[in-house]
Amino acid sequence: METNKLEKTERGQIIEHLRAFLEPWVSEIELLDGITEETNLIAELGLDSVGILEVVMEAEKEFDISITNQELDSDTFTRLGNFVSLLQDKIYENN
């Protein structure tokens, strides 16, 4: 139970960071109000390849991790939760 709660908080914190990174790249800023783990970053937020590169780069800097383009595909971004899981894995790998 405790672990679950901890994980949720961490995921929530990651999403809060991502919200800031996403701000310049979404087609309309209001779209960020209701983002959840289910949000599709491409279809719903209008993120394109430049935005994705930028958000990944910011996340790498913030969490001190390294992600190669080869590890990404569109499934990573069609659900925010998938991206968060990838970041979590990378953060744990580092620690």
């Binding site: 430049v50 590169l53 383009n69 569109s74």
Partner: protein, 504 residues
């Protein structure tokens, strides 16, 4: 012969063949032709006639391709606009090009109305394949028909980055496009029916020539996706759809060259990849040919003003020096000239000038600029190059201050004009910062108005993103005390470029 005739011919010769595959949605040539004809009727009823300018604002999709040919069938002029643009950029082109009809999606229709409000005088037609595979085309707004300029036999108008901040619109005729496509297709030497993966935006002239017109004329299949390019998605699609051909820019080639385990996918079907947009690094090219021996990687060089392709290293790329972009295509004459316009001998660097049946009629409503760029039928490319004694063409640089990012040409002045509109910005200069993947990315140097109370780089990016396509938004923003200058006014872009390359 016109563009639409390519589809008609393939529709008659290969009616059952698959023309378009987009996700799980498939369209045969018979169905594509029939849907194109019904949409062209709809466009006619919205007022489309010979010379009517019709903007298509749709992402890569079956709807985009059907609309493209439907405008030709209705005798209109196609103006493809990228959905990467902001609604304001689209609205700007709609206005500048005297567009009478905008063909778009429902969501873009709404965004566009928001950006233009009542100023938008064009009719808006929303197209969509419904869940039963039927094409719905609704005229959601009537419009005033523009009759600004007699465009004669123009078939396609393509926006291209300007060098003065004002984007230009290149006018191409059916003859320009068909000549260029026919020569390109011949040189590629395709054998069996092809399955072509379209991962770049299909509004690009490169994709229009090398993919849309080429493959539709052959009755091949176009696999279209509107998602951002991920190399793993590409490899999965090649395996799933038995993709045989694609058109790449260098960033895609780098990702393919560096993919660690391509053998996880069955990609033996992939035979042809053309490379354009900028020169693919030689190290990447070597790695590609070593790791994917079944695929021909074909360097090509082109620009919108040339009706697209100028030179190509085909059909056998190994016959050409690695650093070259092949030889000028048959029917394309190339000269290398010095600053005064005198011809230079082999191996001497100068401006590349070209002449061919593919060269544009001119820039829309910019006669002076057209006269500067097109002299006695010779098009000044603005690129520096040389031709060796065997006739191979090499691109060495460019005269114009254009930033090439991910295969897109971006004019720094357009970004600077946007930055200057920010209340905290007094002066701005934008240069290309060298980027491993995208060749260059825009980097902005800004002199602020408020002393030390400058906005953050995120603020600046957000400000730009509302007004500019994402690839034009500066990836790096630095505030400086003053901009380096050459003499009294000219900004020293070379020293800024060096500085940009050192930034973290």
């Amino acid at each position: 012969m016109r563009i639409i005739d390519l589809l008609k011919n393939s529709g008659a010769a290969r009616p059952q063949a698959l023309a378009i595959k987009s996700g799980t949605f498939e369209l045969s040539y018979r169905q594509m032709l029939s849907d194109t004809e019904s949409l062209s009727q709809r466009l006619r009823s919205a007022g489309c006639t010979r010379g009517t300018k019709v903007a298509i604002v749709l992402e890569n999709s079956a709807e985009y391709l059907v609309s493209f040919f439907a405008v030709s069938a209705a005798s209109g002029i196609i103006l493809p606009l990228s959905t990467r643009m902001t609604p304001y950029e689209v609205a700007g082109f709609v206005e500048r090009a005297d567009v009478s009809i905008v063909v778009t999606s429902e969501s873009w229709g709404k965004r566009l109305s928001g950006a233009m409000g009542e100023v938008l005088s064009s009719a808006v037609v929303c197209v969509r394949y419904d869940s039963s595979g039927k094409l719905a085309a609704d005229i959601v707004k009537g419009g005033r028909l523009e009759t600004e300029e007699n465009c004669g036999d123009i078939a396609l108008m393509v926006p291209t980055s300007g060098t003065t901040g004002v984007p230009k619109i290149v006018m191409l005729t059916d003859d320009n496009l068909l000549f260029n496509m026919a020569v390109f297709r011949l040189l590629m030497g395709f054998d069996a029916p092809q399955v072509a993966y379209c991962g770049l935006s299909l509004h690009h002239i490169y994709c229009i020539c090398a993919q849309v017109l080429t493959h539709i004329s052959r009755g091949d299949t176009l696999v279209v996706t509107s998602r951002p390019f991920f190399i793993r998605d590409f490899l999965k699609t090649v395996q799933r759809d038995r993709v045989t051909a694609s058109a790449f820019v260098p960033s895609m080639a780098i990702l393919l060259a560096e993919y660690p385990r391509p053998q996880e996918f069955e990609i033996g079907s992939l035979k042809y990849i053309t490379l354009s947009g900028a020169k693919t690094p030689s190290s990447t090219y070597r790695s590609l040919t070593k790791r994917y021996p079944q695929t021909r990687f074909i360097n090509t060089y082109g620009m919108s003003e040339a009706g697209s392709r100028i030179s190509i290293a085909a059909p056998f790329p190994q016959d050409y020096p690695l650093e070259s972009v092949g030889r000028p295509m048959p029917g394309v004459s190339v000269r290398i000239a010095d600053e005064k316009g005198n011809d230079l001998p082999a191996d001497c660097a100068g401006q590349i000038l070209i002449k061919s049946s593919g060269v544009m009629k001119g820039y829309y409503k910019q006669r002076d600029l057209t006269a500067q760029m097109l002299v006695d039928g010779w098009l000044k490319t603005g690129d520096i190059g040389k031709v060796d004694e065997h006739g191979n063409l090499f691109i060495l640089g460019r005269i114009k201050d254009v930033i090439v990012t991910g295969g897109e040409n971006v004019c720094p002045f357009e970004i600077e004009e946007c930055l200057i509109e920010h209340p905290a910005v007094r002066e701005a200069a934008v240069v290309g910062r060298t980027d491993r993947l995208l060749q260059e990315v825009p980097c902005a140097f800004i002199v602020g108005r408020n002393g030390n109370r400058n906005p953050t780089d995120v603020d600046i990016k957000k400000f730009c993103r509302v007004r500019l396509s994402s690839h034009k938004v500066p990836r790096f923003v630095r505030f400086v005390e003053q901009l380096p200058r050459l003499g009294a006014s000219k900004i020293d872009r070379n020293s800024l470029k060096k500085l940009a390359d050192t930034l973290d």
